[in-house]
Structures are given as C-alpha cells and as structure tokens.
Subunit: 220 residues, 2 copies
DNA sequence: CGCGTGTTTCACAAATTTATCACACAAAGA
DNA sequence: TCTTTGTGTGATAAATTTGTGAAACACGCG
C-alpha cells in the first residue's frame, strides 16, 4: 500500500504502530531519532511520516522542516505534550495531522488512512522482501532503506528476475530477454552482471540463487 | 475566505466557534440540529462543515451522509464521546478530521485551516516541492517565489513529468506523449529540452533525474 | 518579406557502462 | 583424492550514453 516512516524514540511505540501499519499492508521504516528520520526520509521513497515531537538529536518539528526541504511528504505528528502551542505549531509547519499521546493505535491508523486517501498520488507498485524494496516503475531499489544506485543493465537484469521471481532462468533466456535477441555475445557476460548486481544488493545478494549448470533465480 | 457551517445543538459552542471563525475571516452559518444542517448545507454554498455527532432530530453521522449525497464538502466532526468507535466511524463516512470535546477553539480552527488548505491545493492542482510550485491548471511555475518563464515545450515537458512524478519515463515515451505519436524525430531532442528545462528550474534542476540508459524522472 | 522566438539536429567531450578474458575457486562425479 | 566442469571475480579496453554549445530550421507576425 504505502511506505510509512515511523520516527519515535520509544521502541515499543514504534513496535505497536508498526504492527498496525503492517497489518494494513503498509511497509514500515523506523527511526529512533530526528537525525535518523531525516536521513531515512531523504534516502527512501516514503509516502507518509509519523513523527514524534520529542526525540533525541533532533526534535520532530525540526526534522519535519528538514525533510520538507526535499520532499513534500505528508506528516502526522505525535506528541506527549498536551499544550495547545505544540498543536498549532505542528500545523504551521505543515503537518497534516496531530495526535497526542497516549493515543490509540487504531485512531492513528484511521488518520493515516485518511491522509493517504487524500494524497491520491499514483502509487507505484513495489515488490518487497525484508529490507529489499524493488520499485520497477520508479526505477528504484532500496536496500535496508538506502537507495541502491545501479547501472542500467543491473536494473534491467534485476527487474527481469523480479518479474520472474521464483522461476529458474537460463543464461540464454536472460541474454535474449534482457540483452535482446540480437546479442551474440558470451554466456559468461551474464555472470559478470550477476556479480555486480549481487554487490549492489549487499546483504540480499543471496536472493539471487545460482542454479548450477542452468542459470539463476530470484528468491523473494 | 470560506463559508463554514457550524452544526451543534449547544448555543455557546456555536458562538465560540463562530467568533474564532469570523476572526479568521470566514463566513459562518449555524444549524442547531441535524435536519437543519442538511437543509442549510444543501441550500448554501458551503466550503466546510463542523458537525457535532450528537444532535437532536438527526445525528451528525447521518447528517453528513445525507449531505454527502449531494455535495462533496469537507467535514470536521465534533464529539463529546471519547470512545474510539466514534472516531473510526467518523473517518469511515469520510470525515476529514475529528475532534473530541472538550476541545480548544484554536485547535479546531487550526484543523479547519489545514482542511481548507488541502482542498485549495487539490482544486488548482499545485504540486509543491520546497520552493518549487507547479500549477498545471494555471500554467505557472514558480521558483522560490519568482515566476519562471518557459517555452511551451518546456511547460508541457514539465507538466508531463509532474503528472508522472516518481515514475521513470523513457525518451520514447516522452516523444510520443509530449511531442505526439506522429513525431519521428531524434531521441536526443528530449535531452536538449531537458537541458533547457533544467536551466529554467534553477536550483531545482536536479528534481529531474537522469536515468542512464533509460530516460528521465521527476522527483518531488 | 525579414525578424525573432522557439525547436530540432548535430558533433564532440566527458563520464559511465559493458563485454571479455584470465584465473581462482567451488562443486560434482569417478 | 583427483579430475572435470561450472561459477565468482578483478582488471581493462571498447562501446554507450549523456550534457552541452552551436548551427540549422520552422513558423507566426508586423
């Protein structure tokens, strides 16, 4: 559905929200302080941010300001404070909603749903496996939240494998499908690109399984 | 600014909200029960409805449903109940926001402001990112407040990319979509226009990302 | 017509990507 | 264990691709 960044220094609050969010089919990223939240928001394609006001290193308001410099992502603020001032300030910096602690997860998710519904932006399909996010339409690949820069061939190879996830593919097949039927080169070229693709996938390098004497397969 | 219909059976609550709303420059209509609220909403040009849940003759939820049959007006629900159920139900019938009593008038007005702001954004379809404002309907582009003058092709190219923000687009696709299917010219024409468009976008030139071996993408 | 703005093509340099090769390494079978 | 076969990897020269400036071209208008 959507990618939600949950920024709160309290571990259990993140856990609760994550549970609810994932139940609704969202992908969740977590940040435990403002700095981390800013970094993650900038590096990832985030659809909504749930941001706590009081956090170490960088408070929620400042974090939102920072994020807004680069991205126009909707924000729901969380705060333990009940003072009115906070609420107004939250709206002033452009927060889309505001909930005070203690809150009910259901209410938060209802508000999240409302915000996402409003932001009817075309949502690109994403294939997710653990910390690996593959966004074919946006030509993005995220490894544990960080954007993985790849060469064109790597993208195409990965996308082809993704579209055929779980299916064994021969080198020949890959050459004709990814490289094109006119390609008359070496089988081993595939190996080299798999090597580079694996390097780009880092911890998820093993998602590309070698099928000895046959070819490769992407396991999601 | 806007016309706000305040529906609440408590006279003093209406009075307080009216005071704040008028202070912000809004025009206020009042209804003391659900039936009246429905009638007024249908007969008048209303920009936003503040609706109490518990009212005589017709409750707030039913009233909203009734109003929504004819008009797609944003609604902020008020309720004395603190039960979660109400809140969720409020969102389910499409309320844009929800505040429980006792509330602070300032908070309510802040939320009203937020809702109206959203609505306005949707009407003119202004896509904003930092100091970059793209008003497709008005055919305007503002860079840090200053209007950016562009050639027709630049506008069209930018608008197409904006409508497909976050999605990778090939040069071919751009040629057929922006230039027209009959165009049989050079791929590289796109490059040149991207170059010029980037120049026009000044500090936001990097919002147009080059996807090597593929095409371009607008990142908001 | 001639002019001016806007559009397209083109060529070249710079930067990036690719294909291939050789060798080390790993797996499977005798 | 030894052999054979297939795969992983680093290096590198060759091939692509893009950014850009300049020139050619198109077109509406006074």
């Amino acid at each position: 559905m959507a990618v939600i960044l949950i920024a709160d220094d309290e571990e259990n609050i993140r856990a609760v929200l994550r549970e609810y969010a994932e139940f609704e089919g969202h992908t969740v990223l977590e940040a435990s302080n403002g700095m981390e939240a800013v970094r993650m928001a900038k590096d990832n394609k985030v659809d909504l941010v749930i941001m706590d006001v009081m956090m170490p290193k960088l408070d929620g308001f400042s974090a939102v300001k920072e994020i807004r410099k680069e991205k126009d992502v909707p924000v729901l603020m969380l705060s333990a404070r009940v003072e009115e001032y906070d609420k107004l300030f939250g709206f002033e910096i452009g927060a889309d909603d505001y909930v005070t602690k203690p809150f009910s997860p259901k209410e938060v998710m209802a508000r999240v749903g409302a915000i996402l519904k409003r932001g009817k932006r075309a949502e690109t399909k994403k294939i997710v496996s653990d910390g690996l996010v593959i966004d074919i339409a946006g030509r993005n690949v995220f490894v544990d939240g960080a954007k993985a820069e790849m060469t064109p061939k790597e993208y195409e190879l990965l996308f082809y494998l993704t579209e055929n996830a779980g299916i064994a593919v021969t080198r020949e097949k890959l050459l004709t499908e990814v490289w094109g039927y006119e390609f008359y080169g070496d089988d081993r070229t595939v190996d080299t690109h798999v090597k580079m693709l694996r390097a780009s996938l880092g911890p998820y390098r093993d998602k590309i399984v070698t099928l000895r004497g046959h070819g490769y397969k992407l396991e999601l």
